[in-house]
């Protein structure tokens, strides 16, 4: 149908003029609407409550409510976002253009503030949403840091859950030991009010411990190229796991609980932004590009003055650091860790996010982590079938896009935030 095709093309053309600022504003309006009118709309549509994850969970639980849930999503998200972004194209473009004249740091800060407000309002509907959001942000950190090794450097590392475990336990021991009256670590050492200030220290310590552990993988496996890293890193994962299982002072396989509630949404959001920012900086620098050179041809990299061994070790430790930080946050979001969390299944999930989203790509990691985490949550009502659908999706992606959905794309902040149309100008 040519008319339909033309309509779709026109719609795409007009929406492609919406700057990121416009999308963020639209999303903010949608979540604000949900915050104030969500419950009445949901009840009016015959839904028991506000659908937690875009209606998918309700649809799967009660297929009879499928049209109602779709209508809800359309009324609350689709319609307001579509209408406001479309109608305010020239306004948001002008605003984005004006923002762009400030130093880039200010522009970025405004966008991040909008994004955070949107997420905050969205997560404010229920505790469940807040938890899912925090875990998704942590998954973004994990995926991106693993992508540095498996994508940018082109080696295959399996030890990410191990690094995560090191970070999680290190940060937990630090905070539980200092701020909590605990049977194992004794009475409160510092006033709990200091918690939020010392929490970054705990996370960074966890990151450093993970980096230190990574050193034991990196030194033997980066002497030569080949499959050594995959094997050694897998061994490392099991060593860390059984080490923790046998350490009585962190309660072995029973797990460590009672972490103070320090990982609230702003904290997790801030660390995720920091992680994405520093990894993006790294992979876009000439030092980081050396990783790609090592992957594509190590001999040529050496002949062009690149210290290949140092490059690989630095990248590996850097990735391990962020995995450790993510582990620390994870432990404080759930406020309980046990060693069996950090096993093969966790590894498979992170690997799936990396390969689904796209190798060698910051965008891809974000897309992969968000889509697999949200899908994993939304498909929960399907129980066992969830583990058929997600792998099936992964297989399809591997067949049609072998390098992942959005491969080879770093985050270019300037082009992302710039207005999409000259202020005042036509199309």
């Amino acid at each position: 149908m040519p008319v339909m095709g033309r309509t779709i093309r026109n719609l795409r053309a007009s929406y492609s003029q919406v700057p990121l600022l416009g999308w963020l504003c639209g999303a903010l309006i949608a979540v604000t609407l949900e915050r104030f009118a969500g419950t009445p709309i949901a009840l009016a549509l015959g839904l028991p409550k506000i659908p937690a994850l875009f209606g998918l969970d309700i649809m799967l639980k009660k297929p009879i409510l499928v049209p109602n849930a779709i209508l809800y999503v359309f009324l609350v998200y689709g319609l307001p976002m579509g209408a406001t972004t479309r109608s305010s194209i020239s306004l948001t473009n002008r605003l984005a253009g004006r923002l762009f004249r400030f130093p880039i740091a200010i522009t970025v800060a405004v966008h991040l503030a909008l994004l955070y407000t949107t997420l905050h309002l969205w997560a404010g509907i229920s505790d469940y949403r807040a938890l899912v959001l925090k875990l998704t942000l942590i998954a973004v950190m994990l995926t991106l840091s693993l992508n540095v090794i498996n994508g940018y450097m082109g080696e295959f590392s399996c030890s990410h859950p191990g690094f995560m475990a090191l970070g999680a336990y290190c940060a937990s021991v630090f905070t539980v030991g200092l701020f909590v009256d605990d049977r194992l670590f004794g009475a409160v050492f510092l006033p709990p009010g200091l918690g939020p200030f010392l929490f970054p220290v705990a996370l960074i310590l966890g990151g450093f411990l993970a980096s230190f552990g990574a050193l034991f993988v990196a030194i033997p496996s980066f002497r030569t190229r080949g499959d050594y890293l995959a094997i050694i890193s897998l061994a490392f994962l099991f060593i860390v796991k059984s080490l923790i299982e046998n350490l009585e002072f962190v309660r072995g396989p029973r797990g460590l609980s009672g972490q103070p509630d320090l990982a609230d949404l702003p904290t997790v959001f801030l660390w995720t932004v920091l992680c994405v920012w520093s990894i993006n900086n790294f992979v876009r620098s000439t030092i980081g590009k050396a990783l790609n050179a090592v992957r594509d041809n190590e001999m040529a990299a050496g002949a062009m003055t690149v210290d290949t061994r140092r490059t690989k070790i630095v990248a590996f430790l850097f990735a391990a650091f962020w995995a450790g930080v993510a582990g620390g946050l994870f432990a404080h979001v759930l406020r309980y860790v046990n060693p069996s969390t950090f096993g093969i299944q966790n590894l498979a999930e992170v690997l799936a996010m990396v390969y689904f989203g796209g190798l060698n790509s910051v965008y891809g990691s974000i897309v992969g982590a968000v889509s697999i985490s949200l899908l994993g949550e939304a498909l929960r009502p399907l129980e066992i079938f969830k583990w058929i659908i997600i792998p099936l999706l992964l297989i399809l992606v591997m067949i049609f896009r072998p390098t992942g959905l959005i491969a080879f794309k770093d985050l270019d902040v300037t082009s992302l935030l710039r207005p999409k149309r000259k202020p005042g100008g036509e199309v």
Binding site: K289, D296, A300, T305, D307, F408
Partner: protein, 256 residues
């Protein structure tokens, strides 16, 4: 004093002696040729000089300093750069990124700058980019800067490799069959480029080449290699008339 001196260099692959008692002296600004039949050990010599292999015996002296045993990247940053016989480019990287990365050893901003994008880093990255673009301009491939090398025609890829080698700011450039697989037109261009970089950068060049026309026109002194050993050394005329070279490599021209 020669800039690069090699004497008594030998290399064994297991029981096979690939290079035997090789010696070489390159003066600043000289163009030397290295010819010989396939498997004579020419590329092995390049790999030994650039630190990819470590010689079994002998010495390599750069400005009188012993460099054998040093890792490849150290030798490269001391001023020996090279191209590869079968084009070892980085297939997912753009032309500009290739040339920028060859500045690796001169980067002054540390890891902190790389992670957090300090102003110093941004300034330095801009400097490197400008230098790289200027070099691409001189090599006539500036318009390809944003292309991924995989999509380029063969001749352009050769130029990228040459530009990358020059970006390390070498004093000695080792060219491993720079005209392999080129058509006559590209051949003329690449010879022009070699002459030009030799003149402009004041480089010493060591050239492996199978096309006699190229070697004879460019080189001042030619070494002929057979079974890992030098069998003749001299000016192009001397080499062309040397019976051992004719026997081992050039072959007898049939008359009549």
């Amino acid at each position: 004093m020669p800039i690069l001196r090699v004497h008594g260099m030998s290399h064994d692959f297991g029981g096979l002696r690939a290079v035997q008692d090789y010696r070489l002296e390159i003066e600043t600004g000289q163009i030397r040729g290295l010819i010989g039949p396939n498997g004579a050990g020419k590329t092995t010599i390049f790999n030994l000089l650039t630190g990819i292999y470590t010689p079994t015996a002998g010495e390599i002296l750069l400005d009188g300093r012993r460099i054998n045993g040093l890792p490849a990247h150290r030798i490269a940053s001391m001023g020996i750069s090279r191209t590869f016989q079968n084009l070892l480019l980085w297939r997912h990287m753009t032309v500009l990124e290739h040339v920028k990365l060859a500045h690796y050893s001169k980067i002054r901003y540390g890891l902190f700058g790389a992670f957090f994008g300090t102003p110093g880093r941004n300034r330095e990255e801009a400097e490197i980019e400008e230098k790289a673009l200027r070099l691409l301009d001189r090599m006539g491939i500036r318009h390809l800067a944003e292309q991924v090398v995989l999509n380029l025609p063969y001749g352009a890829q050769r130029r990228v490799e040459m530009a990358r080698a020059l970006a390390t700011e070498p004093r000695i450039l080792l060219l491993d069959e720079p005209t392999a697989g080129m058509n006559p037109e590209e051949l003329v261009q690449i010879m022009e480029i070699i002459r030009r970089v030799h003149g402009e950068f004041g480089l010493s060049i060591l050239l492996i080449e199978h096309r006699m026309k190229v070697v004879m026109e460019l080189c001042e002194i030619i070494q002929t290699l057979d079974f890992g050993a030098v069998i003749a050394e001299g000016t192009p005329e001397e080499i062309q008339n040397n019976p051992r070279v004719i026997d081992a490599y050039l072959g007898q021209e049939r008359r009549g």
